[in-house]
């Protein structure tokens, strides 16, 4: 039984290698793969490492205040990058809560998404930021809205042989955002993770409310239908509670060692409410996003 690590120098070459051996698996940071191996799943015989492809870990400014993040950027690179800290502090805040610093030095953002695990932190902030996944396969390149990317337990919209190359984050409206993680210990996967983004108008009323939850369904959940209730309303505990009820009705928790189905649903309600209120407070204190003056670097 052979085992090979293939090290292509371009994305096209990586995709080509996979076309020749459909059982090969793309390797990014490798943390998830090695945990699976430890849990008894044998490693695939052929790994196609994406690490050696130049430029795949770059983080650059996108048009109009957005961002482009190469799929091979480590979580740590992303959380510390000045553009991320300035333009999408919500993402930096969430990544700082992933596992521990050593894992974040190794694990990549693209790998995290492609893994499709239901209890990862990064999908929640990226969903509320409206991220787009760029994927390349043998048939060419396409963009997939992250909201349509997660299909089920360890299931994504990626076709066999397709590789994530980049994440595009569009400009965010002036808003406040937060990610709240409820976990049994600070390095653990979440029992519930809640990302919220709230944009207010000049009178402090809700202009736009976005909320995503992780670890409370087979795939991360972007909560629908919040704006219908929230738009034009002043922020209040009562409004947040009603929005949290909408969120709790849209989760379908899988009970795990971090909480039963019932417990996770109730915690989803609690952390959705807290996240919405915290994001609104930040929006009141000083919104981040388009139209706000960026500090000079």
């Amino acid at each position: 039984m052979g085992f090979d690590l293939l090290e292509p120098r371009t994305v096209a070459e990586a995709v080509e290698l996979h076309a020749r051996d459909g059982n090969a698996v793309f390797l990014a940071g490798g943390t998830a793969l090695l945990i699976l191996q430890r849990q008894g799943l044998p490693l695939p015989r052929r790994l196609i490492s994406l690490r050696g492809i130049p430029g795949l870990d770059e983080i650059t400014a996108g048009p109009g205040g957005g961002l482009r993040i190469g799929a091979l950027a480590t979580l740590r690179q992303v959380e510390r990058h000045p553009l991320v800290v300035r333009r999408v502090p919500l993402l930096a805040e969430a990544l700082r809560q992933v596992a521990n610093v050593r894992v974040r030095h190794t694990a990549t953002l693209g790998g995290n998404l492609a893994h499709g695990d239901y209890r990862l932190d990064p999908p929640a902030p990226l969903l509320v930021l409206g991220a787009q996944v760029r994927a390349v396969g043998i048939g060419g390149e396409r963009e997939i809205a992250l909201a349509a990317f997660f299909r089920g337990l360890f299931e994504t919209a990626l076709q066999p042989g397709e590789v994530v190359t980049e994440l595009a984050i569009p400009p965010t409206p002036p808003s406040g955002g937060t990610y709240l993680k409820y976990a049994l210990s600070s390095n653990d996967w979440p029992c519930v993770g809640a990302a919220a983004l709230v944009a207010l108008d000049d009178h402090g009323r809700c202009r736009e409310v976005r909320l995503a939850l992780t670890a409370v369904a087979a795939a991360p959940v972007l909560v629908r239908g919040l704006d219908e209730l929230a738009r034009g309303e002043p922020v209040s505990d009562r409004l947040a509670a009603r929005l949290a009820d909408i969120a709790a009705a849209q989760v379908e928790p899988v009970g795990d060692q971090r909480g039963s189905e019932w417990y996770k649903r109730e915690m989803a309600r609690v952390f959705a409410r807290r996240a919405l209120l915290a994001a609104a407070r930040r929006a009141e204190a000083g919104p981040v996003g388009d139209g706000t003056k960026e500090p000079v670097a």
Binding site: F3, D4, T74, P82, N100, R102, H105
Partner: protein
């Protein structure tokens, strides 16, 4: 298993090896190179006892395939002392009694060195946060935190980098980012 060629620098010495593709860096360091300071605790990246510096950046040797370290630089606890003199962070751990049974100590010290490479003057909160993923069953955390702060002071006094490890591109990038944040 197909054996894969691997040239890697470990504690400053270049090794030309041939390793099975599924061998973890942890097993390579312990079983082939005899570096027993790298220890397996949980095996899933959660406890920190197998921490090594890869191009100057702390990572879990249990979650790293050996073949992916090709052309890179690995530092274990055995590679920190220079000419019989302990690294300032090692010395500080001794002085502050930053260990009891010692099992977690190599991981703690290497993680601390990684922190000081990024941030030469960390606050208590920053030390606690960075070392948060290194577990100690003896629970001597306050002594360790003092040891890291003392180690930081000594590194600053010495005016040098906290480690003699060659600076890898990853470490350089992270350091540059840290500077960018302040700007």
């Amino acid at each position: 298993m197909n054996r894969n060629p691997l040239t890697v620098s470990v504690n400053g010495a270049e090794h030309v090896l041939s390793v099975p593709g599924d061998r973890r860096l942890l097993d390579l360091l312990r079983d082939e190179l005899g570096l027993m300071g790298v220890r397996e605790g949980c095996g899933v990246g959660a406890c920190g006892t197998c921490t090594v510096l890869l191009d100057g950046v702390p990572v879990n040797a249990c979650l790293t395939l050996a073949v992916t370290t090709r052309g890179r630089s690995v530092t274990t606890i055995e590679g920190l002392a220079r000419d019989g003199e302990l690294h300032p962070v090692q010395q500080a751990f001794l002085e502050e009694r930053g260990f009891q049974c010692g099992f977690c100590t190599p991981g703690m010290i290497l993680t601390a060195v990684g922190l000081l490479r990024e941030n030469p003057s960390p606050t208590v909160e920053e030390v606690t946060d960075y070392l948060g993923g290194n577990l100690c069953r003896c629970a001597g955390y306050p002594d360790m935190i003092r040891a890291v702060l003392r180690g930081a002071e000594r590194c600053r006094e010495a005016g040098g980098r906290p480690s003699a490890t060659p600076e890898g591109p990853e470490a350089a990038r992270l350091r540059a980012m840290g500077k960018g944040e302040e700007g």
